[in-house]
Each structure stands twice: as C-alpha cells, then as structure tokens.
C-alpha cells in the first residue's frame, strides 16, 4: 500500500504541516487560534508516527499516536479552561495583553 507513494512523501507533508503550525503560533495573537496551531503541529507529529510505523512494520508507532491524542485532549481541556477564566475577566484579550501578572 505504501509502495507507490513512499514514506518520504508523507514525511515531507508532515514537515510542511508542522512549519505552518509553528508559523501560525508565532504570528497570530488570538490565544484560541494559537491553540489550533498547536493542534496542527501535533497532527504533523502523528502523521510522521503513522508513516514510519507503516514503513518499519512496527505497531508501537500507532500506539504512540494514541497517547498523543489523549495528551492533546487533556491539553486542550486545561488550556481552554485557563482561557475561559482569563477572558471572562478581561474580554477580548490577546496574547500581548497577558504579559502582566496583575489580575
């Protein structure tokens, strides 16, 4: 199945996806969009894991993706909880406005 496309193509696609996510994380100021960019980067890592699991014939790569998904879900839950409690206090805050600790 992977013979025609080649693992290298999948890895290059994952590299491009990771770079787009990293660029967005640096550029965007809305904390919600920054979280979405983190999800993009996690998905690039997942794509790499599955591609190499298929190439090397090792099921451990797919198990790693399972754990990445669980950790991503926990990270999003906690991150959005923090975000809700911040934005409730000061609506419309961007990442630049959160540089001070005063509540």
């Amino acid at each position: 199945m992977i013979a025609a496309i080649g693992t290298t193509s999948y890895l290059l696609l994952a590299a491009a996806l990771f770079a787009i996510g990293a660029f967005g994380l640096l550029v965007r100021r809305n904390p919600l969009i920054m979280f979405m960019c983190i999800e993009l980067m996690l998905n690039a890592a997942n794509l790499t894991f599955v591609a190499l699991a298929a190439q090397l014939g090792d099921i451990n790569g797919q198990t790693a993706v399972f754990f990445v998904m669980v950790v991503a879900a926990a990270e999003v839950v906690v991150g959005l909880g923090i975000l809700v409690s911040i934005l409730r206090r000061r609506p419309g805050a961007t990442a630049d406005d959160l540089a001070e600790l005063k509540g």
Binding site: T8, I20, V70
Partner: protein, 192 residues
C-alpha cells in the same frame, strides 16, 4: 502506472491539499469560527492519510476525538466567550515579527526536508515485526486487535497513567473555571 497506483496518488494528493489548505486557513482566516472549520478540514485530511496507511482504528479515533470532540470544544469556547468577531490581522505589534517567523518557517521546512531526503536510505535498517492488515491476515479486525494487544500488553502502565492524566485535567478545569464566591467583609473579619 496501473489503476491502483493512480488511485493511491489521487488519494494522497487530494488529502495533502485538504491538510495544507486547512492549515493555511487556520493561520490566515480572520474569524475564529472559520479557523476552526479549517482545522476540521486538516483533521479530516490526516484521517484520510491514516486510512491510506492502513491505520484504520486511528483514523476513526481521529475523526471522533479530534474533529468530533476537540473542535466542538473550540467552537463551544468561541461561542461562550463571544469572540467570534473578525480580528484585524494588519496589526503587527512587534515590527519585524512576521518576516522573521516566515524565515523560521521556510528554514524549518528546508532543514526537515533535507534531513528526510538524506535519511531516505536509513528507513529500512530496523524493520519491526510487521503490522497486520486486512489483506495480510484475512481478518477485518486485524489492525484494532494488534493495536489492542500492544496497548494493553507492552504499554499498559502508560495507558493507566493516561487515565490519571484525564482525571487531573477534568478536575483541574473545573477548579480553574469555577466562579469562587468573593469573601464578604463580615466573613473576613470573622476569620481574623
């Protein structure tokens, strides 16, 4: 090029267009709701690539957990906070941030691409015990059975730790977002 090979190329490139288009949508669209929909497009593209690589269970989990739960959580927070108005993207607080970030992104792709292309021959050095697929074992549940045996065998301790992680995340979120009652002066004086 026979029909099956052609079909593989069609699937790969259409899913790649979905992934990269959705990702560019996430970082360029002004409205956070539209960005979340771009994220859905990317996640579905990744699920298609998982199916193409015979990771059927992970493709299902990708759609259910990521596109189903996580994106809904994003949309829920967007609607709850009322931040679904468009953002002015022309504001650039740090003057040369965007060119520098673009240089970083291109450099990252260049470095990773060079490493991937150079390491092409190393990909066959240490082959594992093989992944069961429906074709190789004549069993339609081969992927999920092999994954379950690996997860509940070799990685059972890590699996139990993830349940602890999820409990901590849920309790922590409840504590973080709860509105604590403000201490009135009378209770504070009674404490003192």
């Amino acid at each position: 090029m026979n029909d099956a090979t052609f079909l593989e190329y069609v699937v790969f490139f259409s899913a790649a267009v979905m992934i990269l288009g959705g990702a560019i949508g996430v970082i360029t669209l002004k409205n956070p709701v539209h960005a979340a929909l771009g994220l859905v497009l990317t996640l579905f593209g990744v699920a298609v690539q998982f199916v193409a690589m015979e990771a059927n269970f992970l493709a299902a989990v990708q759609v259910i957990v990521y596109a189903g739960a996580i994106v809904v959580l994003f949309l829920f927070v967007i609607m709850l906070l009322g931040v679904d108005e468009s953002i002015d993207l022309s504001i650039e607080p740090i003057p040369i941030q965007r060119p520098l970030a673009a240089v970083m992104g291109v450099g990252l792709v260049g470095l990773l691409g060079a490493a991937i292309v150079r390491a092409q021959d190393a990909l066959v050095i240490n082959p594992g015990s093989g992944i069961d697929t429906a074709q190789t074992t004549a069993n339609n549940d081969a992927n999920i059975q092999q994954l379950a045996a690996n997860l509940y065998g070799d990685h059972v301790f890590a699996f139990q730790l993830t349940s602890v992680l999820l409990i901590v995340a849920v309790v922590g979120t409840v504590l973080l977002t709860r509105k604590w009652p403000r201490n009135t002066p009378s209770t504070e004086s009674s404490d003192a």
